[in-house]
Structure formats: C-alpha cells, structure tokens
Amino acid sequence: MEIGSEIANRPRRGGEDDGRTGLSRRGFLRVAGLAGVAAGLAGHVARADGQIGYFAMDLPDDRLAGMLRTILRIRWHERTMADRMLSDPSYRAYNHFYAGQEAVATGVCAALRNDGPFEQIDLVYSTHRPTGHALAKGVDMAKMQAEMDFRATGLNGGYAAEMHISDPSVGFIGADGMIGPGHVIATGSAFAFRARGSDQVSVVFGGDGTYATPHFHSALNNARLLDLPFIYVLENNLYHQYAHYSYSCPHTDIADAARAYGIPARVVDGQDVFQVYNAAKEAVDRARAGGGPTFIEAKTYRYYNHLGAPGAEVGKLGAFGYDPLAITSFRPEREVRAWMQRDPVDIARATLIDWGVLTAEAADAMEAEVRAEVDAAFAWAAGQPLCNPEDGLKHVFAEGEVMPRQVA
C-alpha cells in the first residue's frame, strides 16, 4: 500500500478541507479514497502490456506528467479562488467552480492542437463553468484571473468576466454563459473546417443540463448529417443547478441519445484523465480523418456548489453549503463524499507514480511549483488597473466607438 499511504500523507487534498467541513470529511475521504484509486489502478495494470486500450499509449512521459500539472493548476486555481471569496472582503470575482471535474478538460485538451497558427489549431467552446477548459487549452492563468477580477489588462479587457472569457490565440473560443447556443455555434466552426478542407476539430463542452435544450438536437443532427469534425463532450456531473439530471433527461447514459443519431459515443470515467484522453484521442483521430462527429459522456462531479461569489460564507446561498432554495432536488452529503473518494488529482498522481512516470517527490515538487504559480497569478491580477469607464463604448463594432447615451 505504498501508493495509498503516500496519498494519505499528503495534506490538503479533496477540495473541501481548510477547516470548512473539518477533519471528519477529510478523514472519511482519506480512507475511502484509497479503495477507489487502488481499484482504478488494478484495471490499468492488467492492461499495461497490451497495445489495445492502453491508456494514453501514444504519449511520452513529459506529456503524461503535463496532464497532472494541468489538473493541479486548475485545482489550485479553484481552491485559491474559494479561499479569497470566503476570506478577502476586497476580492471581486465570482466563479462557477470546476473542482472535481479537472480530468475532463485536461484529458480532452491534451488530445487537441493548442498552439500554432489560428488556421491550424483546434477550437474549444466552453460553458458557464469555463476556467478548467481555459487552463487546459492553454489560456494564461494570470490574465484569466485578472479578467475574472474585472481588470483592464485582463484576458478580455474587463468586458467578459468569468462566464464570458475567451482567448482565440490558443483556440479557446470561450465561455458561453447560455446553455445550448454554444453547441450549435460550435458545429458552425466544424462546418467551416470541412468546407475549407482543414483537418481542425471543433470541440464543445456541455453539462448534463444541455441535454434538454432544443439546441442539443440541432447540434447532433446537423453534425451527423454533414459529417462534421465535431466533438461533443458532455460533462455529466448529475445536476443542473438545483435539479438532478433525471428531471430533464430520460436516459441514464446521455450518450444513448447521441447514438440514436448514429453518432459514435463513449461513456468514460470523468475522474480518470487517461481514460478521458483515450476517448478524446479516438474522437480527434476520427474527425481529422473525415469520419465525422463523436460524443463523449464523462461521468463526473463538482465538489462545490453551482456558483461561488465574493462574500461567501460556508453553508450560505451561493457559497459552499446547501442551497435553501433547492427544493426540487439537491445533492446529498453522502453523494458528495462518495465522489470525493475518486478525486481526479489523486487518480492521476497515483497512476503516474504507478507507471513510473513520476516519483512521489517529483509530484510533490510539481504541486509546490503549481501553488507558487497560482499565488503569483492572483497577486499579479490583484495589482492590475481597473477599467476605464469610457472604454465601455468600445469594441461594439470593429472600428470606432458608439455614442454615449446616458447623457443628453
């Protein structure tokens, strides 16, 4: 049980410690977590010698280790944000937390082309919960954090904030705060790729909530009819805001809905970055080869509440407790705990150590580096200038400004 004890010894793991839920949850998580990881590894080891189905077999060690680094960067960005909301009265950014789901964004984006000329990179369309997708796609953390804090030098000059961030330079077309439309727009990019003979791929992330939107049908039907290089990654974290997905979807596996269109679909363990990567790789290869769309349903979970905002207090609406308005259905404590046993950070780390890609010491050093990077990003962001009020009239059209109308 070396791996297990290694994990048990690491402090601050699991997303909700820091004295907020106290030792009891952390303790619970520690013990139960081992079982989950061990079970996961058993599967990997059994397939380690085969060529078929081997996880991430095409990747060199540094790329594999890079996935853990990405997961850690997302996790520590999230946790630092949560801390600020709970403790720093001057902090202004809100966030739809991605903690718990890191392996999905990381595994998918690891299979994409994320740098090079704009005409060659793959595009990612994100959701109202975009930070994980952004970081995995290569968006600069400090600039993103400045944007989330409404700063003039932020990624989008303070116009966007969390739910609307974007960075075309790395193919991150961006957050779409609305549920549904982004998926359809993403098929339009795929249509353009096919029309101009490019091998680029258009990827959209969506939640289980997306299933019910009329856009779900439009996106899948047209992707299938036109054989578009389009990948639909559905992060099924079981809830859309205050309702379990069974309130809006008749399927247990939403992937079955995609299969009905004749679209190849896979259900993957969204907590295991290598499993996610494998599915994404297969989808990307298919799309680049002209084989059309793929649907990936990643079963996952978010640790925090739907939304966190500055001035949050543990247990209060919009922060980190249960929502008193959540009358239709809400997340049971035991469900949260059960999912935390299969933490994506733990799984990735343990797997890499097991594979001999990293030592525990190297993993610890990586985490320390990431924490320093995150702290530096927050510090840089907090020091950035606020926006110039008059700039609100800019960027409506490519040229010029619109007239100020708040004065007569």
Partner: protein, 322 residues
C-alpha cells in the same frame, strides 16, 4: 397589510388564483416559486399545489413559453417564470403564436396566460450574454400581447391578479433590480389595470418618464430636483403595450418638456416610443432621452455603472432642459 417585497407580492397573487382555479398551472426552470417575507407564511407553490400543476423543467425556455399558450388553448389558466438567461429564447413563440392566435383565429382563440420574464441581467455584474437589455423592446413591439413592467410591489401584485384574470396573453416583466424593494401591500386580492401609466409625482416644469428598475433612480432625481425648486412630473410607464399615450401627452402638453429615461439600449428602447408619441402630439415642446448606450453591457463595474443613466445623470439632463 404588511410590508412585502416584489416577489412575495407577486406569488401571493399567484397563490390566490391557483387556490381558486384547480386547473391553473405554473412552469418554472431554476427559480422555484418560493418566497418568504418577515411576518408572513412562506409561499411555496410547488409543495402546495404538487408537481402535476407546478413543474420544474429542464433548460428549455422555449418549451416553457410554448407549453403555457398550449395550456391556455386547452382552456387552462397558466403561467411560467422565465429566468433572465433564457429571456430571448421564447421570443418567437410569444411573437408569432401567443400574440397572433386570437387575431388569426378571428377572435376564436383565447389564452389566459402569463409569461413572467426576469430582468436580472439589467443589474450590475451581469454582463454580455447575461444582460437582457432587449426584452422590454421586443415584447413591447409585438402585437396581441400585453406587456407590463410593474416597478412597485403594490403594482406587481395587482397587475399579476389582472394578468391572470385577463383573457389576453401577458408578458409580465420582472425588474429584478427591485428585488429588495418593499412596501405595504394588502393581503387581499386586488387588481391594477394593465392599461394605465402612473403619475408618481405631479409637476409643471418637466415630465420625466421612466419604467421598471429605472424608477428608483428617476424618483431620486426628481426628489433632488424638487429640492432645488424645479416642479417635476414623474410618470412610471408601467405598461409598455398598449402604451398609455393619453397620460404621457397630457403631461407633456402641460410641462412642454419631456425627458424619457431607459435603462436598456438607446435605439428603439421604450423611451423612443415615449418621445415619438409625445412629439407627434405636442408641438413645440422640448424632447430629450437618456438610456444605456447601444453597447453590450461590459462586466467591469467601472464601465457598467458609468454607462448607466442613474439619478445624477437624470438630474443633470433635467437641469439642462429647464
């Protein structure tokens, strides 16, 4: 009689109507029909009337807004609460179906239905795609739908009773910036007509017209100006369709100066219609309009608040006219 918030007042009206009509339904998405108010019982339509009549749907505002006229055409009173993020989704079905069916059928179709459309996006912090600056105009422009935007808890309750009793489809805009506003509201049911603007303050030097979430700023500006000796008449539009031309024109004919204020976009915002109607009917008066600029609202509070017509800007504009 208790001091009540906007939403408590509205749900009190809905609860009363649902108790008196066992066929009536309510469809919501992420905002449960629940309200609390100090000293009053909690209202929870879902638990009181059960999930057959009060349904929590998936994220499909077009279904919500389509189901309600469908219920109405089947002879059931129905209402839905559309969250601000989905405010634009039901546009086509309200414009082309709910609003046209009575006329198209030669008066044979009747739809006693209400679309509550939340306007949270017109408050600071809700930028870009989360700003719903368009809803007042798009729903005021279309035919066959009564569009109202009550700015006080009292009006909200009375107009909700009137809306649910009306055989016409009603778009009931909820200026969520007024969430915390409260005032004395009767516990008993009563109606406020769906056809009349309200003169909130009488005066003779200048008419200021506003609506919805803009009203507190308009009233604050009017108080400042009154303090400075200006005689300001304040009109709260309350009803966007059919707009109450008479109240507007009577006032401007008296004051001969009109300042129309919108918190939504300048071009073709409700204030454009206010100015146009008055200009057609009152010759030789002075007309001014202030509004949010024709730009998607930015996230940064510094940019956003600067772009918004607030009490100071309204007062400034007024001073420049008198």
């Amino acid at each position: 009689m208790t001091e009540k918030t906007w939403m408590y007042s509205v749900l009190e009206a809905v609860q009363w109507e649902m108790r008196n009509d066992p066929a009536m339904t309510w469809i919501f998405e992420l905002t449960p029909p629940v309200a609390t108010n100090a000293g009053m019982p909690v209202i929870n339509l879902e638990t009181e009337f059960g999930r057959r009549r009060v349904v929590n749907t998936g994220i499909d505002e077009n279904w919500m807004a389509s189901a309600v006229p469908g219920a109405g055409l089947a002879g059931s009173k129905a209402a839905t609460y559309i969250p601000y993020q989905g405010a634009g989704m039901p546009y086509q079905v309200i414009q082309n179906h709910a609003g046209k069916l009575r006329s198209m059928s030669g008066g044979r179709a009747s739809m006693p239905v209400v679309f509550v459309i939340e306007m949270t996006g017109q408050t600071p912090g809700f930028a870009g795609q989360h700003s719903d600056y368009e809803v007042d105009t798009i729903y005021a422009h279309i035919a066959g739908v009564r569009t109202v935007v009550p700015s006080t808890p009292y009006d909200a309750k009375g107009m909700m009773h009137a809306a649910l009793r009306s055989p016409d489809p009603v778009v009931f805009l909820y200026p969520a910036g007024l969430r915390m506003l409260s005032e004395e509201v009767s516990d008993a049911p009563y109606e406020v007509p769906l056809t009349k603007a309200a003169v909130r303050q009488e005066g003779s030097d200048l008419t200021i017209v506003g609506s919805g979430a803009g009203m507190p700023e308009v009233l604050e500006a009017a108080a400042t100006l009154t303090g400075e000796g200006m005689s300001v008449e304040v009109i709260d539009l309350r009803v966007l369709k059919e707009m109450d031309t008479e109240t507007l024109v009577t006032s401007v004919a008296k004051t001969r100066r009109l300042l129309a204020v919108d918190q939504s976009y300048y071009t073709l915002g409700p204030a454009a219609e206010v100015v146009a109607r008055c200009a057609e009917n009152v010759e030789g008066a002075r007309f001014r309009r202030i509004a949010f600029s024709d730009a998607p609202p930015p996230a940064s509070p510094e940019m956003f608040t600067w772009m918004r017509p607030d009490a100071t800007r309204i007062a400034d504009a007024a001073r420049r006219m008198v």
